[in-house]
């Protein structure tokens, strides 16, 4: 058992992006009374999960994927445990037991267990050539498949697209299957999605949209089930020898559940990121707040601010002094294969009557702004996203843009120099 000291022991379970960043904030606060311990199941901690695709495509190196400098943190006092997942939390003993049997004492514990690639219920288990695309291990598996492999990526969200791009850039034959009618359907409208799809098709990715896979065909090789193809609901059959599952993420809550935390879709937290258990907090993709779970970094960094403030400053019960976490429409900034995308607000509110649209296909430029009662409620930018933050600020401040309406779609520079001319004398 690791030594218990007189310091407050804050233990973070999960060394993904949220956990590492939290550890960094706490350690760099320089507080002598706090001892931070970070427990990770992967061999490597502190890397940027968002960069897996360029890593797979060999556009960046493993060094460049580093996100938090763990070596520096350790020298500042962080206790880092890798390759050894936590398996049990004992509130009675105030300790956490790792898979290796090691016990880690805590005063306060933060769940940052993240999420896993969702599995498709209708698929048989124990298949050798179905992979996720969530971590460095997945990347190293995919890096090692044959150059002539036929890959089917299931899921046309960000993760699936990134996997597909990474694979196709390695020279593999990639098909992407997505159940919605257009890719990135939570972030993009049809028009923007079509532009992106055309761009990705030009890279060589083949798309099968609007249908879920209904079954996998397989054979046995060396006593292992091996997938040989994917059949879609409409009967289309795609032959393959590798499947990448990217149908979404499922919050990892098994440890929280067994530890007695209240969970629904994920670990339920309040506005201070407190869970149902005293001295227990959660952050990141494993959390659920007001019924909502999180998959993008922006709200998680907001959570981080709140939690850091709480952990560093809390005295007893929360007061008004403590920052609170609230859900905001934070913008989704994506870069898929060099194409910039910016999506903010509730794009589901778009109708023919309330959407200002600009299309320049050849120039790969697309903009859509959705207006409700003179106020921007959502925006999608494709290609040139430089005006994204400006639209975002207008959404946040609920500014009335009626007077800018004619030039709004052209961005801030145009709106600032609006001039209409009088044709007559």
């Amino acid at each position: 058992m690791l030594m218990k000291t007189n310091n407050r022991n804050i233990v973070i379970i999960g060394a993904g992006m949220a956990g590492c960043k939290l550890a960094q904030s706490l350690v760099e606060s320089g507080r002598p009374d706090i001892q931070v311990t970070l427990i990770g199941e992967e061999a490597k901690a502190g890397y940027n999960r968002i960069m897996l695709s360029p890593l797979l495509a060999k556009e960046i190196t493993t060094k460049q994927i580093n996100f938090v400098d763990m070596t520096a943190l350790c020298s500042q006092g962080l206790r880092l445990i890798t390759n050894d997942p936590a398996v049990q939390v004992s509130y009675k003993l105030k300790q956490i037991i790792l898979a290796s049997g090691v016990e880690v004492a805590f005063d306060e514990v933060v769940f940052a267990t993240g999420s896993r690639a969702s599995q498709l219920a209708q698929f048989p288990e124990n298949i050798g050539n179905i992979h996720g695309f969530r971590n460095l291990n997945d990347v190293s598996i995919l890096e090692n498949i044959n150059n002539d492999a036929q890959v089917v990526v299931i899921g046309g969200g960000l993760l699936g697209l990134e996997a597909a791009v990474g694979l196709v850039k390695r020279g593999l034959n990639v098909s992407l299957v997505h159940r919605a009618g257009h890719i990135l359907n939570r972030q993009l409208d049809v028009a923007a999605a079509e532009l992106l799809q055309a761009h990705l098709e030009a890279l060589g990715i083949k798309f099968f949209l609007g249908h879920s896979p209904s079954k996998l065909t397989h054979e046995f090789a060396q006593d292992k089930k091996i997938v040989t193809g994917v059949t879609l609901e409409d009967g289309t059959h795609i032959e393959c020898n590798t499947v990448v599952l990217a149908t979404g993420i499922t919050p990892e809550v098994s440890l929280a559940k067994s530890s007695g935390l209240l969970t629904k879709k994920a670990i339920v937290v309040n506005e201070y990121l407190q869970t149902s258990k005293a001295h227990t907090y959660a952050i990141g993709e494993c959390t659920e707040f007001n019924g909502q779970t999180f998959g993008l970094v922006d709200p998680i960094w907001k959570q981080l601010e709140v939690l850091v403030s709480w952990l560093l400053n809390a005295k007893g019960a929360p007061s008004n002094q403590n920052p609170k976490f609230k859900i905001e429409h934070s913008p989704t900034k994506l870069k898929v294969s060099g194409v910039n995308l910016y999506s903010v607000g509730d794009i589901g509110k778009a109708t023919d009557k309330n959407s200002i649209v600009l299309v320049d296909r050849t120039n790969s430029e697309y903009r859509k702004i959705i207006i409700d009662n003179g106020v921007i409620v959502a925006a999608i930018l494709y290609g040139n996203i430089s005006d994204g933050p400006w639209y975002f600020s207008l959404i946040q401040t609920k500014a009335n843009v009626s007077h800018l309406m004619r030039n709004l779609i052209f961005g801030e520079a145009y709106c600032n120099s609006e001039s209409v001319i009088n044709h007559a004398a």
Binding site: I356, L358, F410, S419, A424
Partner: protein
């Protein structure tokens, strides 16, 4: 342009307004190209090297597109010979059956004196009709009659130097800043040199000419005569009469003063709608300033009582003896380059020839002998308005229209159209194949244009100048005098109409002016009656009279106080001021005034050919006061329907703070060739002055209705597209490509529907709409939709639609279409926004010479430029022709107010 005839410089005169500026056209061989340039003739006494914006752009109007280059009969091309014989045969036939008055000429102040002379001679001496009238009827006929009543002759007493030498200049019914820009600039310069000089502008509107005014009297439309009766009365009251002059040199003073007596300050202020203080100021200046010139123009002449107004002015000058001396006189300035030349040959229905009338004792016989004419007309013919009525009535069966566009310019255009449709034979001599009038021609004759013509013109100060050709005639184009002579010869008058050259016509004309004259007639240019071709070609500008023995001509008339009346004294005419004929009513509550804009000439057949002159004002508009606009719920640039008893037009509303409540103003220029329904004459009653026959073109009672539920827009494209089904359209000339402004009835069209419309408009002109890229912007919240079609990075067409009439500036898009330049990556958003975000938009062009736009001017002002001189120095705007100087001052003033 064709290759110039000679590789040197040609001195000629400008074909636009009555100032008659000298133009020097130079051709220079540069490598294999011949570069032709035109600039003001520094030696010409009218302009001393200056040119206005229209004159500066003369060469740009000489494009071959749309030139008429061969004769047509009923739309079929024919040889000249066939056309001439058809015309001659038909004239002989018709006059044999119906008498000589079944034939008529309708001529133009654009013609040269020699063209005019042979037309007048053929009609009045050989066909035997005085049905020779001209568009000058619309311009200065009232001034002619006014002069004749007062002086016994149609004599302009003054010259341009008088405008510079006077201490008080009263401009009445003249917006010289826009209509006679070079003369106006001379006035501005004179005022600068003589700070004591006062300028009074009398005009219902605050025009650009008010820029130089010390006093602007914004009188009620048509109330001018009362103002001059008031001045006559004041002259008497303030002991400012020149009693000696009145006694020795005039007649009828007492009756005229008697009529003027009731015009007290109070009565006049009420009649004219100005304050008593303003009248006092005018009176004080008038009574105390001997050197006074009254400059008047169409605002006086185009009235049902235009002659009386002229005489009300002249009365004041006679009462003070302010005539015939330096810096004094009643000065009628003509609109057209050769209205004066037409008057000199007698090319009007109420004149015979050479300043002789049918009523002049012995004149008919004298002219008959001089011409050796077989068939003299013996009495006045039909004046323009009556002429077209007689055509409709079937009394006149042949009309030969030359160098004018009566379907646009005469009042009650619908009647003119009906008349020409009904007429047996409409002959139209024109330079251009498509005008509103050529569309109604039976025989279309290709005429030579300005650059191809030789002859003389007379400007507003009686100065005869040579016009020289510097290009060969285009195609089969023929000089008008030649076409007339050919017809006369075909009719059997070969010895009387066989001229070896145009100089022979001029010599004959000069000979007639001197024939049995002996000082009895003002117009005498006998010095030229034997002129040789060589001397004619070397002729320098000279002011008539130029009698034998006085080759230097005559600067000023009536210096000796002798006039051409029987008694030798000038006549006062008692004046009873009248308001315009058409009365205000509830049904037509607004008073329409008409006029010109700075950069267009008449019906735009020439000035409408260059984008440089279109840049100033692009579309037909109506000025309306903010109060009337608010009352009628009209927004800026909205299309409005302007309706009079006679007809209606559709124009852009231009809400102007300087426009008086109850009054509106529209420019006269737009024709069916440029806009679908903007011919202002459609609204104008054919009411004429009973003495001069001049129509009251500056006055109509109208009602204005905003046209609702329109979708506004424009299209800028490589090819001109067809917007015939639009509620409103107007073509704006570009050097390359086409710009159409429009308003569609489909106010509720969706973006998708408009996209289809844009595609079908392009497809209709055989543009492959699949062979390029479409950029799309749709904004359903404001009903804005824009589509740009690009091929190989070049803009093919941009369609902008919006519910609101305020659209983005067209300047950058036009530049892209005209230059066909490659659209850069960073400019693409501009194809839908109207300009690239980092590009410079110069805004609406104010200075056409240097292409300086409103935005540049505003920028310069923002950067601390304080006055006109600095502005001109920094941007060059206004430093060439100066036509835009008033507007520049306005902009500076409005900025100063904003910052105050």
């Amino acid at each position: 342009m064709n290759k110039p005839l000679n590789n040197c410089s040609t001195k000629t005169t400008c074909p636009y307004c009555g100032v008659g500026c000298g133009v020097e056209v130079s051709a220079k061989a540069v490598l294999s190209e011949v570069q032709v340039t035109a600039k003001g003739d520094a030696s010409h006494p009218a302009n001393f090297g200056k040119l206005c914006v229209k004159g500066s752009n003369l060469l740009q109007t000489l494009t071959p597109q749309g030139r008429l280059t061969q004769p047509f009969i009923q739309g079929k091309p024919v040889e000249w010979n066939e056309a001439i014989h058809t015309i001659a045969g038909k004239i002989k036939d018709v006059i044999a059956k119906h008498g000589p008055d079944a034939f008529a000429f309708y001529l133009s102040g654009q013609l040269l004196t020699e063209d005019y002379y042979v037309a007048n001679k053929l009609a009045k001496g050989f066909i035997g009709t005085a049905n020779v009238d001209t568009n000058s009827r619309l311009c200065m006929a009232s001034a002619v009659v006014g002069y004749k009543r007062a002086f016994g002759s149609d004599t302009v007493p003054c010259n341009y130097e008088d405008l510079e030498q006077c201490d008080l200049l009263i401009m009445v019914g003249s917006n010289a800043a826009w209509t006679h820009p070079v003369l106006y600039q001379r006035i501005v310069a004179a005022k600068k040199n003589n700070p004591a000089m006062k300028v009074v502008v009398i005009d219902p509107r605050k025009t650009a000419s008010c820029d130089v005014a010390d006093l602007h009297l914004a009188i009620s439309p048509g109330s001018d005569a009362a103002l001059f009766n008031y001045l006559l009365n004041e002259t008497d009251q303030n002991n400012a009469l020149n009693i000696g002059y009145v006694k020795s040199n005039t007649e009828g003073f007492d009756q005229a003063l008697e009529q003027a007596k009731p015009w007290t300050e109070q009565a006049t202020a009420s009649f004219c709608g100005v304050s008593e203080q303003e009248l006092q100021c005018l009176s004080q200046w008038w009574c105390s300033t001997p050197k006074t010139v009254t400059l008047f123009s169409q605002g006086i002449n185009q009235s049902a009582t235009g002659v009386d107004k002229s005489n009300a002015i002249i009365n004041c000058h006679l009462a003070t003896g302010r005539i015939g001396q330096v810096g004094m006189g009643p000065f009628s300035i003509t609109g057209q380059p050769n209205a004066m030349g037409g008057r000199e040959v007698g090319g009007l229905a109420n004149q015979l020839a050479a300043h002789m009338d049918f009523t002049t004792l012995g004149a008919i016989d004298r002219v008959k002998r001089y011409w050796q004419a077989p068939k003299m007309a013996t009495q006045n013919g039909l004046k323009a308005v009556d002429l077209f009525k007689a055509i409709e009535a079937g009394d006149v069966k042949i009309v030969w229209i030359m160098a004018t566009n009566p379907v646009v310019s005469l009042p009650d255009s619908a009647q003119v159209r009906r008349a020409l449709k009904k007429c047996d034979l409409v002959i139209v001599s024109e330079c251009y194949d498509k005008t509103d009038t050529t569309e109604l021609a039976d025989v279309l004759l290709p005429a030579t244009g300005w650059s191809e013509k030789n002859g003389t013109v007379t400007n507003s100060e009686r100065r005869i100048s040579r016009q020289h050709s510097f290009e060969a005639p285009k195609g089969e184009a023929k000089h008008d005098w030649q076409a007339i002579c050919d017809v006369a010869i075909a009719m059997g008058y070969s010895s009387e109409f066989s001229y070896q050259g145009v100089h022979e016509i001029f010599a004959e004309h000069a000979g007639l002016s001197a024939f049995e004259n002996n000082g009895t007639r003002d117009f005498d240019i006998g010095h030229f009656s034997q002129i040789s071709e060589k001397t004619y070609n070397e002729m320098k500008p000279v002011q008539w009279p130029v009698p034998i023995g006085k080759p230097e001509g005559t600067e000023r008339m009536f210096e000796n106080g002798q006039f051409f009346t029987h008694s030798g004294r000038a006549n006062f005419v008692p004046i009873n001021p009248q308001k315009p004929a058409e009365k205000l009513s509830n049904e037509f509550p607004l008073t329409l005034n008409t006029g010109r804009i700075r950069d267009q000439w008449h019906t735009m057949t020439r000035t409408g050919r260059t984008s440089k002159l279109m840049g100033h004002i692009e579309q037909p508009f109506i000025d309306i006061s903010p109060q009337d606009a608010a009352h009628l719920s009209i927004v800026q640039l909205q299309i409005v329907e302007v309706v009079s008893q006679l007809g209606s037009v559709k124009l852009r509303a231009n809400i102007r703070s300087t426009q008086k409540k109850g009054q509106v103003f529209a420019p006269i220029h737009w024709t069916d060739q440029f806009a679908n329904n903007a011919v202002i004459s459609n609204l104008i009653n054919a009411t004429v002055d009973p003495l001069s026959g001049q129509p009251e073109s500056k006055f109509a009672q109208v009602v204005i209705r905003p046209v609702e539920k329109l979708l506004y827009g424009y299209c800028i494209s490589q090819k001109k597209l067809n917007f015939d089904d639009a509620a409103y359209w107007c073509h704006v000339t570009l050097e390359q490509g086409a710009h159409t402004e429009f308003a569609l009835q489909e106010a509720s069209a969706t973006s998708t529907e408009l996209f289809e419309k844009a595609k079908s408009l392009l497809s209709a002109k055989n543009v492959d709409i699949e062979a390029g890229e479409w950029l799309v912007y749709s904004n359903p919240i404001e009903n804005v939709a824009r589509f740009s079609f690009v091929k190989d990075d070049v803009l093919i067409a941009a369609f902008y639609f919006a519910q609101h009439p305020m659209l983005p500036s067209t300047h950058w898009l036009r530049e892209m279409v005209t230059s066909q330049s490659k659209i850069e990556q960073h400019q693409r958003l501009g194809l839908l926004a109207g300009k690239p975000s980092n590009g410079v938009d110069h805004g609406r062009i104010v200075c056409s010479c240097f292409n300086v736009g409103e935005n540049q001017i505003n920028d310069a002002l923002e950067q601390g430029v304080k006055n006109l001189a600095d502005l001109t120095r920094s941007l060059k705007c206004g430093s060439n022709c100066g036509s835009c100087l008033p507007e520049l001052s306005d902009i500076i003033d409005s900025k100063t107010i904003e910052h105050a």
